[in-house]
């Protein structure tokens, strides 16, 4: 669960936010004014201050909001002046937009508001459709509206070039005033209520929001043009009304309700993708005729209302077809206001005690929830007043950090706390190895190791003070940056915590000390020396959390709450309700690298004593006879088997695993499969130590898995088995997996050198490399490598030879490996106890609606008899209706309804249709005369919840990631890690070390276009592929300058658009869109960009180059002796220092996916970048 914020305003107009990981309200001190109301969404928070103006607080991110302005300089050739700006009268302007229709000189560009700043000056774009142009950036054509080429020809009469300049939104984490101006001059009226939402209506433009506001006179205004690149929007537009409105609420989707003065409610209808403002209002009566409604709150599919008597009402029967719903249900509890946040979670402020309440148990099946639960956490001010008032010497250390620093620090930091806690702890992780050079000035009388002097106050203010120091550093950098600004593209230093890395020993030292003590207090509240420390630690934990918030006068009175940015659901574990345990458990959840249970003294003691015991009681007596003789253990069961001979079908078989001790004392076993063949009893067997991989196979009707051996890998024909129930399959898989690992002597977590891979279904596999894997001349054949599963669900995994592993989910969420093993169905012995966390992933299932045109009725769902199904999959071969389409496996559940997908390649019309002449052809987004068929794609999101040794790295979603294959020798040395965000931004991770594999923050590296693939080699060579298919090399990347200086454009192979790149120690390989594998020629230390591309192979889906330039690929189609495999792991043989291209392929795991009934597809976008040397 990424950290997000709940916002609230107290009765004095002070704005507070509460982090889902935090346990106290943080006051937003930057707000000079008192606020009346706030409305939050994930990326920002809008508010109305006491001056009735609207303010916007955009949360900062490691990736800045930056917008590329462009304009074109046009020239025409004439015999006198050659090319010059003297154009014909009929020509376009000398400076124009891309179409030539608008006049756009460089000085006509202005910043949209004072909250923007220019990043640098204008410069010429020298990239033309993936090809570098000549120095000046000109592109040539015969005449103006024509095709441009980068080469000047004899008939080139005109030319143009593109100028670009970036502007950046600078007012993040700050309350910026939004001018109250309508389309025609200032609004006559100050604002009274505001509501933000509508982000689910459309994904175009990115980050689009709807903002509704109510003026004091009861008019409603809609703010136009708010999206990612324009966070403030352009202007207010009045919305006509049937009466005077007092309050309005806008949900994430198309639901907008408002309350009228008279107490009725009005519902906005006609809100669509094309018309987010909607078209008309419909009146709904108040739930109680005596007491009119005073407040309404809407979510995705719910409406809650409050009437004048403070009664709470829930509206039945709301959905997007019926935004009005069908009836009111009275709920228990009296509230002054209610807010519906993400996932339809409900927040309220109680009428009785003015506390913030959370509605418990709100699920998609039970949207009305179960009960109100008070959010019971102190405010940051409360605790400080306590600790400074306290005479206890225990707290004096805490006092040192409080007060002054806090007050000075700019409040913009506050909303940044969503990254805060994690960063702070990550820094701790790096510290134990470096002895504290300079102890912090704490009270010398306090015996440090035994006193848990950390209060949550000191912890947090310390973080802030820490940050403040860094902030100053950042400002200096900012000015430096400004000086550099004229040499774009450049790396932008944007994270405030950036500059305080390892170069700031004093502060990191404070972190270390504080947090270690803190951790030791731990969930058990127990430390080194039992009896007395127990009481001490309980002093620290309990006085702080239990007594404080209930101090007589300190009870906060709340006026407004907004959960629109707060990503909780009914399963979220929040520390907000029971403050006694809040502190310790939150500390636990924050720690990534040090978990308190693992470092606890008691645990160490047990380990030590047990090994002592073994020594004492067993070492000298090994010659004694064992009391129990080892025997064979058999586990039997019934399964179905996809039989080997034709016609292939599922047949019932008996299945048995016999386990015994092998000759060297190791566990071993044999799998037996008893079946009938022509009334004759037969059996099939496989030795456990020959099994190479066990793969769960997704199937919506059966619980199936496949067992491979080397022989079966060659045949591309595994043993496919189906268990009766999911539980049974998981039991068998876990048992077989343990048994296979035992027989190969594999125990515990994967080694640092392990190879990681994921299947096309998202399952994660690990292979322990044998020393002979890269042996020359006879390496271990690929098909004999043994792969075992670890929990989790990933689309992409990337590791280095030091054990740092990152993964990216299908929903682009980023995960870092925690050092555990198991999870998912691998429970019990196959799983570690620690370092296993919940992991979720979301993906879309797509179906197609197909229609054919006929002269009478136009497009209808009546096709020709030869046509595909009118509801089908992408190929048209399978019928897929909305009703019969299931999630990919029983583990996935639907989380949304079917929705039209407008984002399909080729474009769509306004209703999502794509047109074509006939069905199996290419589709385009507009209707022409020749089009007789059309289709549109429907998408439905489904979600998987599982467990595995992964922890989320919020908040930026990624599409690609790369880690330097070797490098760092010490545990604190930074490990270069680069990534591409799902929007195409290039990012460089700071603070990644062996101890803090998650790193601390992102550094954004500017590019002129979105990127899609990136790879870093052993010598810091960074190569990347842009969305236009061209390659880029990043210059001057070193340990000192981790983000390098500028991009060098490398043309792609002729007429090929590159897709993916991988860099080893010296080699660079790329794969293009047609599956060709290319090797970069001529790379030398003096010419790191190389000279040309050499074609190596076709039929390649993905390439991965190891630290010793080992080359591994996923081959697309490989013919086995029994069937064809799509997606096979292959190893390049014969790669030598003098022969970096190698000679031939060795084929490994991978299997058949050609038949729908026998899925066994193992696509392994493998990352074997960590294969050790022979």
């Amino acid at each position: 669960m990424p950290v997000s914020l709940l916002w609230a305003v107290d009765v004095y107009g002070r704005v507070y936010s509460l982090s889902t990981r935090g346990q106290q309200w943080e006051q937003c001190r930057d707000a000079v004014l008192e606020f009346k109301r706030v409305t939050a969404v994930q990326q920002c928070c809008w508010g109305i201050a006491c001056d009735h103006h609207i303010y916007l607080n955009v949360h900062s991110s490691d990736v800045p909001i930056r917008y590329q302005e462009e304009t074109f300089e046009n020239q025409r050739w004439n015999p006198m002046d050659n090319f010059s700006d003297r154009l014909l009268p009929s020509d376009r302007w000398q400076w124009s937009n891309i179409t030539g229709l608008e006049h756009q000189p460089l000085d006509s560009f202005f910043l949209p508001s004072t909250n923007w700043e220019w990043e640098g000056d204008w410069y010429i774009d020298e990239n033309f459709g993936g090809e570098p142009t000549e120095k000046e950036g000109w592109t040539y054509a015969i005449d103006f509206p024509a095709t441009y080429t980068k080469d000047k020809k004899w008939n080139s009469c005109v030319r143009r070039r593109r100028w670009i300049r970036y502007r950046r939104y600078k007012a993040t984490d700050n309350w910026a005033t939004i001018p109250s101006e309508g389309r025609s001059g200032p609004l006559p009226d100050p604002f009274n209520d505001i509501s933000c939402g509508g982000w689910e209506i459309s994904e175009e433009p990115r980050g689009r929001l709807s903002l509704w506001a109510v003026s004091l006179q009861g008019k409603v205004w809609f703010r136009e043009g708010i999206h990612h690149h324009s966070p403030e929007g352009d202007g207010w537009e009045e919305v006509s009304l049937p009466g005077e409105v007092v309050q309005i609420s806008c949900g994430p989707g198309d639901l907008v309700w408002a309350v009228l003065w008279e107490g009725q409610l009005i519902v906005r209808e006609g809100i669509t993708r094309d018309c987010p403002r909607g078209s008309s209002w419909v009146v709904v009566d108040s739930p109680n005729p005596e007491a009119g409604a005073i407040h309404v709150a809407v979510g995705d599919n719910v409406v809650w209302a409050v009437t004048k008597d403070n009664k709470v009402w829930y509206r039945r029967g709301i959905n997007s077809y019926n935004p009005r719903g069908s009836g009111w249900i009275g709920m228990i509890g009296e509230m002054v206001m209610i807010n519906v946040g993400l996932n339809d979670q409900v927040w309220g402020i109680s009428c009785e005690d003015r506390a913030v309440y959370f509605r418990q148990g709100v699920t998609s099946n039970e949207l009305s929830g179960k009960a109100w639960k008070a959010v019971n956490v102190p405010r940051d001010g409360d605790i400080r007043s306590h600790s400074s008032a306290s005479s206890s010497s225990l707290h004096s250390a805490g006092c040192f950090f409080s007060g002054e620093v806090r007050a000075q620090s700019v409040m913009s930091e506050d909303s940044d706390t969503k990254n805060g806690p994690q960063r702070a702890v990550l820094e701790v992780g790096a510290c134990p190895s470096s002895p504290p050079p300079d102890p912090p000035p704490v009270d010398p009388d306090v015996p440090k190791p035994r006193i848990p002097k950390v209060t949550s106050d000191s912890f947090i203010s310390e973080m802030l003070s820490d940050r403040k120091v860094k902030r100053e550093g950042a400002t200096t950098e900012a000015s430096l940056r400004e000086a550099d600004a004229k040499s774009p593209p450049l790396a932008l230093v944007l994270s405030p915590s950036l500059s305080g890395g390892p170069g700031d020993p004093q502060w990191s030292n404070v972190d270390l000390e504080e947090t270690q003590t803190h951790l030791a207090v731990g969930p058990a509240g127990v430390r080194g020396d039992a009896a007395d420390t127990c009481s001490l630690s309980s002093v620290a934990t309990y006085t702080l959390c239990q007594e404080e918030p209930y101090g007589a006068d300190e009870h906060p009175l709340w006026a407004w709450v907004s959960g629109g940015g707060c990503g909780v659901d009914c399963h979220s574990q929040l520390n907000w309700f029971n403050s006694a345990t809040a502190l310790s458990s939150s500390v636990q959840s924050m720690s990534l690298s040090i978990s308190p249970a693992q470092t606890a003294a008691w645990r160490k003691q047990i380990f030590e004593q047990l090994s002592e015991r073994s020594k004492r009681e067993m070492d000298n007596f090994k010659h004694y006879e064992q009391a129990i003789e080892q025997s064979v253990w058999v586990k039997k069961g019934a399964m179905q088997w996809w039989r080997d001979w034709k016609p292939h079908k599922w047949v019932d078989v008996r299945f048995a695993l016999e386990q015994f001790s092998g000759p060297e004392g190791n566990q071993d076993g044999i799998l037996f499969l008893y079946y009938n063949f022509n009334e004759e009893k037969k059996y099939l067997h496989a030795f456990i130590n020959e099994v190479t991989i066990l793969v769960p196979v997704l199937n919506d009707s059966k619980h199936t898995f496949a067992v491979y051996t080397a022989e079966r890998t060659k045949q591309r024909w595994p043993i496919r088995l189906a268990a009766a129930t999911e539980l049974e399959m998981h039991d068998w898989l876990a048992l077989l997996s343990v048994s296979c690992c035992d027989s190969r002597g594999i125990q515990g977590p994967p080694s640092k050198q392990a190879l990681w891979s994921v299947t096309c279904k998202g399952d994660v596999f690990v292979c322990e490399p044998s020393p002979s894997l890269e042996a020359c001349p006879y390496p271990t054949p690929c098909d004999q490598m043994f792969w075992h599963q670890v929990g989790g669900h990933l689309r992409l995994v990337e590791c280095n030879s030091l054990g740092v592993v990152w993964g990216v989910g299908y929903d682009h969420t980023v995960w870092v490996y925690t050092g555990g093993y198991g999870g998912g169905f691998l429970q019990g012995l196959a799983s570690s106890t620690d370092n296993i966390y919940t992991q979720t992933d979301v993906k879309c299932v797509y179906i197609y609606e197909n229609q054919r045109w006929n002269p009478v009725t136009g497009y209808t769902n009546r096709g020709l008899p030869t046509d595909r199904y009118m509801w089908s999959d992408a190929t048209g071969l399978q019928e897929c209706t909305k009703a019969n389409t299931k999630p990919p496996s029983p583990h996935w559940t639907w989380v949304a309804d079917w929705a039209i997908d407008y984002g399909i390649s080729g474009g769509t019309d306004r209703e999502g249709w794509q047109y074509a002449a006939d069905f199996p052809t290419s589709y385009h987004g507009h209707k022409t005369l020749k089009d007789f068929v059309r289709r549109r794609r429907w998408a439905r999101k489904c979600k998987l919840t599982t467990t595995g040794p992964w922890q989320e790295v919020p908040p930026i979603p990624l599409s690609d990631v790369t880690i330097i294959p070797c490098g760092a020798q010490s545990i604190v040395e930074p490990i270069p890690l680069w990534a591409i965000s799902n929007k195409g931004d290039v990012l460089c991770r700071l603070g990644v070390t062996l101890l803090t594999p998650a790193g601390t923050s992102w550094l954004h590296v500017g590019t002129d276009q979105p990127f899609k693939s990136i790879s870093i080699g052993g010598a810091n060579q960074v190569w990347a592929i842009a969305r236009d298919g061209s390659a880029f090399y990043r210059g001057s990347v070193t340990a000192q300058s981790p983000s390098g200086d500028c991009w060098y454009h490398i043309p792609s192979p002729v007429r090929q658009k590159l897709q993916q790149v991988s860099v080893g120690r010296t080699s660079v390989y790329t794969v293009d869109q047609h599956g060709n594998l290319w090797f970069r020629q001529g790379l030398t230390p003096s010419c790191p960009q190389g000279s040309s591309w050499e074609h190596i192979s076709n039929n390649v889906r993905k390439v991965s180059v190891g630290p010793l330039d080992q080359v591994w690929i996923i081959a697309d189609k490989v013919q086995g002796s029994h069937s064809l495999s799509c997606g096979t792991v292959c190893h390049r043989l014969g790669v030598q220092p003098m022969e970096p291209k190698g000679q031939s392929w060795d084929y490994g795991i991978g299997s058949n996916s050609s038949s729908v009934q026998s899925p066994g597809c193992v696509q392994l976008p493998l990352n074997p970048s960590s294969v050790p040397s022979a």
Partner: protein, 275 residues
């Protein structure tokens, strides 16, 4: 650092080197050699001493043989206590191998239960597991298991199959995350110097205000004498599986990792040896 799973292995594969000698008054045809054996700490004496019986029967006449029983330094050893517990309780500070005397006559009816066959041990073992699960999960887990699952637990113990046993036993060790532990911890505290066989009470792993109970909390509650005050020297050792966990060890963790296969945490409180 090692994983918690390793503790389970260490506990399971704990062995006590034992020397069985025939009681001097037993009538033999020729002199009986002592018999040396590695006894699994988590098993039961009568379940693992077939070899011992066979060894001594070779030198005895059939008519001189009644039910076999054992003593250590004159104390009859209860077969229905796990072997490791018997050792910790009676012999933890003596030299190894553990010297056990074997008897075939004069069965001490007052001290010991009869054990005519392994099915008696199985019944005893299963009833302990059921009792433990009643405390932990209101018997929900054990009742949800099938007969063959129960058998798998027993066979795992009988044949010393760690994987087989734990494949099933892990279900007995699960608990809802939101509750933070079992309902009650199944434990028994044994004292050498007491008439009571053991102490057993209801004790929760987490206090009502969310505080995690430790081994120390348990002892404070049920047998405070075992904890020495600050100002005095240590009088008692609190031993589980031959080790002395720190008093701040969370009880829930102990129950999950240091319970015997019968799912009870058997805790011995023994006086510190005077020397």
């Amino acid at each position: 650092m090692a994983d918690d799973k390793d503790v389970l292995r260490d506990v399971w594969f704990g062995r006590i080197p034992t020397c069985f000698t025939l009681y001097q008054d037993e009538i033999t045809e020729r002199e009986a050699e002592p018999f040396y054996l590695l006894l699994p700490r988590v098993s039961f004496l009568t379940l693992v001493t077939d070899k011992v019986k066979k060894h001594f029967l070779k030198v005895m006449k059939a008519e001189d043989v009644e039910e076999m029983w054992f003593d250590f330094e004159g104390t009859p050893l209860k077969w229905h206590y796990p072997i490791g517990l018997l050792f910790d309780l009676h012999a933890s500070n003596t030299a190894l191998p553990w010297s056990i005397t074997v008897h075939f006559k004069n069965f001490p009816e007052r001290d010991l239960l009869h054990c005519p066959s392994n099915s008696v041990i199985e019944a005893h073992f299963m009833s302990s597991i059921k009792e433990a699960d009643a405390l932990k999960h209101k018997s929900q887990v054990i009742n949800d298991m099938q007969k063959k699952d129960h058998k798998q637990l027993w066979m795992g113990l009988q044949n010393d199959k760690f994987d087989q046993f734990w494949a099933m036993n892990r279900k007995l060790m699960e608990y809802p995350t939101e509750e933070g532990g079992f309902r009650y911890i199944p434990f028994r505290i044994y004292l050498t110097m007491s008439d009571r066989p053991f102490i057993q009470k209801l004790f929760r792993p987490i206090s009502s205000d969310g505080y995690t109970h430790t081994l120390g909390d348990l002892l404070k509650e049920v047998y405070p004498v075992a904890i020495s005050r600050d100002d005095e020297s240590k009088r008692y050792q609190v031993v589980i599986h031959g080790i002395e966990p720190l008093l701040e060890t969370p009880l829930q963790w102990l129950s999950e990792h240091l319970s015997h296969p019968d799912n009870f945490l058997h805790i011995s409180v023994i006086p510190v040896p005077s020397d």
